[in-house]
Amino acid sequence: MSEGTASAAELRDTDLDGPELRARLARTWGTGQGLIARLSTVDHKVIGKRYIVTTFVFLFLGGLLAVAMRLQLARPESDLIGPDLYNQIFTMHGSTMMFLFAVPVMEAMAIYLVPLMVGTRNIAFPRLNAFSYWIFLFGGSFLWIAFVLNTGPDVGWFAYVPLSGPEFGPGKRADVWAQMITFTEVSAILVAIEIITTVFKQRAPGMSLDRIPIFVWAMLVVSFVVLFSMPAVMVASTSLILDRLVGTHFFNPAEGGDALLWQHLFWFFGHPEVYIIFLPGTGMVAEIVTTFSRRPVFGYLALVLSLIAVGFLSFGLWVHHMFVAGVPQLGASFFTASSMLIAIPNGVQIFCWITTLATGRVVVRTPLLFVLGFFVIFVLGGMTGVMVASVPIDTQVHDTYFVVAHFHYVLIGGAVFPLLGAVYYWFPKITGRMMSERLGRWHFWLAFIGFNLAFFPMHVLGLRGMPRRVYTYGPELGWTDLNLLVSAGSLVLATSFGLFAWNVVRSSRSGDPAGPNPWGAGTLEWATTSPPQPHNFDRIPAVISREPLWTPRDSLPVVTGLSVENRELVVSTLTDARPELRESSPEPSIWPFITAIATTITFVSSIFTPWAAVWGSALIAVCVIGWFWPKGSKEDEE
């Protein structure tokens, strides 16, 4: 056990104050200028911002693909886009939205916000965080470069075998998809470990478990779901690559394998995946509802327990994606029950939020508008979810546009609308400027109307026999008019995103200055400057309530004794957050970037030859040794 004696030369934050304290800490924790410095940064805010921007780029790319699909489907037997390109487009749309936008954007928001909200100076394992971002960026780029080179996957975002297998999926398209999965899942798993460790061990002194903000609880639960669900898709995608590359027979019925094994493995991941996307949205809703009702959220314990319940239950639903695949009926009915059961904790959350609004003073600003949109859209999606949970109903609507409508209602309603609200809410903290409220309202109404115009008619199209993933349809089927309406709606929705981008760009340059707490909110991220200092807090706060900034006091209690020359943060106990260590936080390093490049080379080469896994691993090992080899600095050694 090291002694905690201060060396004579070491400066602590008890020795300094005010602007000088801030300046010294900023120097210790800052990211330098220049390319190498920027590639080496381990500041969670810098990485978080990069991550958020990158995921939104993927959102826009995925959205353009959607517009392309809707232009093709606007008329029957259209020859705008042929079947091969269309199949790549819908696969890229789903894969981009699910793997490169929806999950990563929630991780990205967490990377930025969670350390601030729990009152620490950096995320746990900061270099790993940098590595996670690079791996995500390289994996997403790999997929899109392949697409541009006409080797984009064309088997749907869930790549069912045997269509994606060696016999019916020639070339490298399905391998590109499977390896993209490896990139993104490694990234997500590492971020999950960072978040769990940050929330468990780096909370501000006094932030006991029942004082953790709901958004942080949501990200904690989500991180656990990630840990236990993502291995399933990695096992699946690895098995697929093995079948395609080296002749294994996991999914080959002729040699003892099974086509449905793929579906079980994929959906065991796939169902929790949608809760990985949705639960952070609920955390954002909770924070926004709290702030704009001007009262602590109603039912804190119920909300936390609901989050945990949903996290658990999400693992028991996956067979509902396979109701018509020929699974035994008794087993299937169990999954109907569990799929309907999950509506109960979701309902608890909705009731708590409405009660918060009903017993508070409701201030309607753009973030809250998007939350109200969430209520309307997500709940409708939840209702159709109960319908598709029923085996008999699902035999009619499975794999039709009804399901497409359902999941867009729950994903866009349940995750994207809260995310947009969260952007309006936290933009001032991240950039120091307010977004335009007027543009925000236009954005909201365009998005709300465009979304419903685009997706509501799909329920009817599904009931009228239109299956998913068709590049065209005959005029005699009676789907023409509704498809035209859907396509028109999609253009309105696309326009709303354009307006949003405009609002973001304009506000970053000339939005009103925000100040530390423009919304008068209660959580710790609002206790520091906007944008925050590199070290987040000049002194780590001590927490005595759930909404630290709403507890009436003249000033915020803080703890002292941390070094200003070396990167130090507080490690505290799991339940009560009693401080136990002054842990050093790693300095900037170029090794995460280099290791990510080595990993990318390994992963990409492995789809061409299995030997790449061998020499690639050696390459990665060298980089990892470089990464972890101590540099002799105080942070490293002591």
């Binding site: 470990i193 399933a232 094994l261 040794i625 050694e637």
Partner: protein, 199 residues
């Protein structure tokens, strides 16, 4: 925002062991992920067994002696491993160095036997689904042993350099922690690969 100090943390140490150490939690996270991976591939094995009329498919069960040998070596290694963890906690540099050399040798030995073990399975990965899943299971565990061998060797070297102090003792302790996972996961895998098909 105005602030006022309520507690001085200068006296706190700068690194800890076990649940005090964030790295320990990170390792626990890896246990969860990799453990889940094993659970899933075991699930694949049992699923394929369930849907096939005969098992193993068209071959004799694998020769269990190499696997048994590895099991015995791993179980025996628990004692020096526990000693390594204790030496790390007590910051006992000479013992750390000695025990890390021992653990490195154990890991390398296991890797060697493991390579041989693949040749005694009586089936190849591309023979049929049974072969594929057995190679997958064994390969996954092999991957863990190889990476842990690498970790241990690098840490051993590190403890002989000028860096062998302070936080490195926490790393020694965490590395030993990870070896428990490698040993523990072999037990169900050994039973599944070698004894389940004989039942």
């Amino acid at each position: 925002m105005k602030t006022h100090p309520v507690e001085d943390l200068s006296h706190l140490p700068t690194y800890g062991f076990g649940a005090q150490s964030p790295m320990w939690w990170g390792t626990l996270g890896l246990f969860a992920v990799e453990g889940m991976g094993f659970v899933l591939v075991i699930g694949m094995y049992l699923y394929l067994w369930f849907i096939n009329p005969a098992w193993p498919l068209g071959v004799t069960p694998p020769n269990h002696w190499p696997g048994m040998l590895i099991l015995l070596i791993l179980l025996a290694s628990l004692w020096p491993n526990a000693a390594t963890e204790r030496a790390g906690r007590e910051e006992d540099l000479p013992n750390c160095r000695l025990l890390l050399i021992v653990m490195s040798l154990v890991a390398v030995l296991v890797v060697g036997i493991r390579f041989y073990e693949f040749t005694t399975l009586h089936v190849l990965w591309d023979t049929n689904a049974y072969g594929s899943v057995v190679w997958f299971l064994l390969g996954l565990h092999a991957l863990h042993v190889i990476t842990d061998a690498g970790d241990t060797i690098v840490l051993t070297v590190l403890m002989f350099t000028r860096h062998g102090h302070g936080k490195r003792f926490s790393d020694v302790s965490d590395n030993a922690f990870y070896w428990y996972f490698v040993v523990l996961t072999w037990i169900p895998l050994y039973l599944l690969i070698y004894w389940f098909p004989r039942m």
